[in-house]
Amino acid sequence: MRLLEEKKEILYVIRTMDVLMSSGVGLEAAIHTIGTGGYGIISSDFSSLMEKSRSGKSRGLEFDVKGLMNKSESEGYRRLLNTMYSNLTQNTDLLETLRKQGKRMEDDRNEEVKKYIEELGGVPETLLSIGMIGPIILAIVGLIPQLMSGDLGAFMKLPPASTIQSVVNIGLVMTLFGMIMIGLKAHTKDPGL
């Protein structure tokens, strides 16, 4: 969940920091502004950074930013924190790097959305194949004890009806499980728009 939330918010955070800092706001004030809310999990992270600073428990902003790097799960967020850390320790050109990162992240996002749409193109077909063919076959299997009763039963020895019922039940549960697994693809590969 954290990964998805980070991926969803990171580009907005970079753009906001870009606008704030090119307007003359300092890094700490930019972190404070983002920490006040509106950027999901990143706002919570930045808010905890500022809280730590205010409470006097912080060893310094650079150490806290480095601490956040271990907590982050997405590549983009880690890269932003690394840029902030470099700026704090070596006074690098943060604005230029933010712009480059923003551009790169936007290209990545466009690619991810295209890929997501392409990959999900096959989901309906797969879902319908499993979700429809499975139950149709299982319905026929479930009806066999009824259809093969009487004279027809003499041609072929069938397992007890309870066994067939169990097979059908297991088959239906497996079909549902298969549908969930296919559906998970839509969740795990979400580009986070």
Binding site: Y12, R15, T16, V19, L20, S22, S23, G24, V25, T33, G38, E106, R109, N110, V113, Y116, I117, L120, G121, V123, P124, L127, L128, G131, M132, P135, I136, A139, I140, G142, L143, Q146, L147, Q165, V168, N169, L172, T175, L176, M179, I180, I182, G183, A186, H187, D190, L193
Partner: protein, 243 residues
């Protein structure tokens, strides 16, 4: 007639409950749909407004004056909200009016843009460039969101129609034709199992469809409805065809 239909399913407690919950939750699912339509309409107009503001500021006008002017010229709900807020803010500050405008739109995009414009104004930053960059950023973002919506919507509907409507009716035909209850076939256990399966499969199909479009929470409201539709269609069709 409605009571006769419900009477036919007297022995299906879960179905009756799902019908009641389906109607109640379905009513709860309509406001999020209306709200989303309104919010997306505002968000799709935002890049155009920002671009016009950038041009107006570049031509030497003040941001407040430019906003009021563009609000009047922008058709739709965004322009109306902006004009109403600015016109009613004579006795309050521009910041307060902007905050009020952002809150009224209930859009995260507009709220983010508003905070950035406020900060840029406070810091005396070059507004024309900032507004133009924001306009292009949000234009690209909205294009992506709209593309996702248009390309995946048809697939989402296809999943729901096939799993929640097509499949139960198809199986009901097979069961009703080959093992009709009026000819003495004992299929009540079979029907019970399959009706539960269709309810579960419909819930999964509707959830997957919602997740594909990036609004699963909105679709959760409709789960009992689709579950009851698939169960009802199956049990109803079996009764009609097989007696």
């Amino acid at each position: 007639m409605l009571f006769d239909i419900l009477e036919a399913f007297n022995d299906q407690m879960l179905l009756l409950l799902l019908i009641v919950f389906g109607i109640a939750f379905g009513a709860g699912g309509i406001p999020p749909m209306i709200e989303r339509k309104r919010r997306r309409s505002i968000e799709n107009q935002l890049p155009g407004l920002l671009e016009s503001l950038s041009d107006a500021v570049g031509a030497g006008r003040g941001i407040q004056e430019a906003m009021l002017d563009q609000g009047r010229n922008t058709p739709g709900i965004l322009g109306k909200l902006l004009t109403d807020t600015l016109e009613s803010s004579h006795s309050s500050s521009f910041d307060a009016a902007m905050s009020s405008f952002a809150a009224k739109t209930r859009s995260a995009q507009v709220q983010r843009v508003t905070v950035l414009i406020d900060t840029a104004v406070e810091q005396d930053a070059p507004l024309q460039g900032i507004l133009s960059d924001l306009s292009m950023d949000y234009e690209r973002l909205n294009d992506l969101m709209n593309r996702r919506e248009t390309e995946l919507k048809a697939r989402g509907i296809l999943i729901i129609i096939f799993v929640c409507i097509g499949l139960p009716v198809l199986i009901a035909f097979i069961v009703g034709l080959f093992a009709p209850a009026n000819k003495g076939y004992q299929i009540s256990d079979f029907n019970q199992t399959f009706s539960l399966f269709f309810a579960a499969a419909s819930a999964i199909a509707a959830s997957v469809s919602g997740r594909m479009l990036g609004r699963m929470k909105d679709f959760l409201w409709w789960l009992p409805f689709w579950m009851s539709v698939s169960m009802g269609l199956y049990l109803g069709a079996v009764k009609i065809i097989g007696g």
